[in-house]
């Protein structure tokens, strides 16, 4: 097999090199950077555990972490409920089914930057579409992005809107696997539509729900372009996200070591939260 082995190596070589240069090396160097002070201009200096210590006391960082949890607390339930509702509604013989599905999925393919700019306009206090609609029906306008109480919820709603189509597809795939005869059986047993949903559909969609939960969580931790464009992290730093802080440290403060530390902390947090979710729900799934 020498020729085959050689060919295999040759063909896989570019990727192996790529992995080394752009994946392995950065991962290792990220950890190294945690222990360095570096502004990219002068040479790096050893920092010991300075960065780590700084991070544990850094109010801005922990505020960002808190904001992320606020975001997740609103975004995740909203995402699951809306995606589930739309998927269940679509899961039947419908006219124009492809049209609905395409409509819901449209924001998924649009760039996050565009969505941010668009919703900036929608949420604009004076001339934004939403407030104009509210006023039209006689309600008071809300300072969506400038009121500290509503800013993060507003962003959470927007991200939900953007991604719901994606999760609808996931749920639709899961719904295909619920046996038709079991649905008929439960109807005959006297279940109303709601009871059928609660006792049959929902439990059988648990794997998909776990997936939605995990992906939304990861998404939430990686929030960047939305606060960057829409609020700059304010008002009162209520929408300041972890990645935004990372970017600021790298791009504006030129503190590479500290920025890398934030990156590592973020990766660990994501890993940790996802692992906990999987543990809690994986056992539910196995049951």
């Amino acid at each position: 097999m020498r020729a085959e082995e050689r060919s295999g190596w040759l063909l896989a070589m570019p990727y192996a090199v790529f992995l080394l240069a752009f994946v392995a090396y950065p991962i290792v160097f990220a950890v190294v950077l945690v222990f360095l002070h570096w502004d990219l201009v002068t040479s790096p200096s050893f920092a010991g555990l300075d960065n780590v210590r700084l991070l544990t006391h850094d109010g801005r960082f922990w505020r960002a972490v808190g904001n992320t949890f606020v975001f997740l607390a609103i975004h995740i339930p909203l995402q699951i409920v809306s995606a589930l509702a739309l998927a269940v509604a679509l899961n039947r013989r419908l006219a124009f089914r492809a049209f609905w599905r395409a409509a819901f999925f449209l924001p998924v393919v649009i760039s996050g930057a565009v969505v941010a700019v668009l919703w900036n306009a929608l949420y604009a206090t004076d001339v934004g579409l939403i407030n104009r609609l509210l006023v039209r029906v006689g309600l008071a306008p809300v300072a969506w992005l400038t009121d500290p109480r509503t800013a993060m919820p507003a962003i959470a709603a927007m991200v939900t809107w953007k991604n719901v189509g994606f999760y609808v597809i996931i749920y639709l795939a899961g719904l295909q696997y619920i046996p038709r005869s079991a649905q008929e059986a439960i109807e005959l047993e006297g279940a109303t539509a709601w009871q059928r949903f609660r006792h049959l559909t929902l439990p059988l969609l648990l794997p998909q729900t776990i997936l939605v939960l995990t992906l939304s969580t990861i998404n939430g931790f990686q929030l960047f372009i939305e606060p960057y464009v829409m609020t700059g992290g304010g008002p009162l730093r209520r929408t300041y996200s972890i990645v935004l802080y990372l970017y600021t440290n790298a791009f504006f403060y030129q503190k590479m070591g500290y920025a890398a530390t934030i990156g590592v902390a973020l990766a660990l947090m994501i890993g940790g939260v996802v692992a906990i979710q999987r543990r809690l729900l994986g056992s539910a799934e196995a049951r």
Binding site: E4, E5, S7, G8, L11, A12, Y15, A16, F18, L19, F22, V23, Y25, P26, I27, F29, A30, L40, L86, A89, L94, F99, R101, A103, F104, L106, V108, V109, S111, G112, A113, V114, V117, L118, N120, L122, A124, D126, V127, L129, R132, L133, R136, G165, F166, I169, I170, I218, F221, G232, V243, Y247, A250, F251, A260, G263, V264, L266, A267, I270
Partner: protein, 271 residues
């Protein structure tokens, strides 16, 4: 009774669909409105004007940015397709030492959050002197683990007999890959092409880090800078710049939606 529920269902779905489509329509309409009309609910401006577009075009190099995005996205997609399928072919059909390790590592790559490697990659780019170059935008994306895994899954299913007879005809591996596998793999290639292209087209954090010069900015990046930097001045103008980014995508989406959905949903699940 049943028809009543049916009607309610359709009404609900229409309402939902509207919440997804209407903002885009309103955005498009707003870009055509003169300043005093901006913010109204009307979908058809009373005095339509292209001023917003003219202003936007004059104030920032959007044409250039469009070209940049196109260039970068196309290059990356081409590279991912070619290099990716080479790698996938090797992983799927050629036996070599280290193959299982390579596969395991590729799967592992999917687990790594981008933010971990962001800063080191950035410093690498700086040290290579690639700030404000196309290289910085393109090279870190030339290969893509998700694409490789998807293509590999497809390549594994092609019957061995095709390869054997090709080898007997004297074809080399690359020839086999591109003349036999590629035509058969068109659907998979299309799917990979779409999510790779879209991923690159929509990417904004990386360009924001490695490109400062407006002439080299990608479209979403310029849009962000423009909208933030106050260069827009008015909602009409900033939305106009967003339209430049959105319209080609929406047009492609209208015609190819099935492929978009299959591609981006499939890739997302794997990731």
């Amino acid at each position: 009774m049943r028809t009543l529920r049916r009607v309610a269902l359709y009404a609900g779905l229409t309402l939902a669909a509207l919440t997804f489509i209407y903002p885009f329509l309103w955005m498009a309409a707003t870009t055509l409105k003169p300043p005093f009309e901006v913010g109204t609910l009307a979908l058809i401006p009373e005095r339509p004007t292209l001023d917003n577009y003219r202003t936007m075009w004059a104030r920032a190099p959007f044409g250039r940015a469009l070209l940049n995005s196109a260039l970068v996205a196309t290059t990356i997609t081409a590279a991912v397709l070619v290099l990716g399928s080479m790698t996938a072919y090797a992983m799927a059909r050629l036996r070599f030492r280290g193959r299982p390790v390579l596969q395991a590592v590729t799967l592992g790559v999917l687990l790594v959050p981008g933010q971990l490697t962001l800063i080191p990659l950035y410093t690498l780019i700086v040290q290579l002197g690639w700030i404000d170059t196309y290289a910085a935008l393109v090279v870190p994306y030339l290969l893509n683990a998700t694409a490789i895994l998807m293509l590999r899954q497809f390549f594994v299913q092609i019957p061995q007999s095709l390869i054997d007879s090709a080898r007997m005809d004297g074809m080399g591996e690359l020839r086999i890959l591109f003349t036999i596998f590629w035509p058969l793999a068109k659907p998979a290639l299309a799917i990979v092409a779409i999510f790779t292209f879209m991923g690159s087209w929509n990417e904004v954090l990386w360009p924001l880090l490695v490109v400062r010069d407006q002439r080299l900015m990608t479209l979403p990046q310029l849009l962000t800078v423009f909208a933030l930097g106050g260069g827009a001045g008015s909602m009409g103008v900033s939305l106009a710049s967003a339209m430049v980014l959105v319209v080609p995508v929406v047009v492609a989406y209208v015609f190819l939606q099935r492929y978009f959905i299959e591609s981006m949903a499939g890739a997302g699940i794997k990731g």
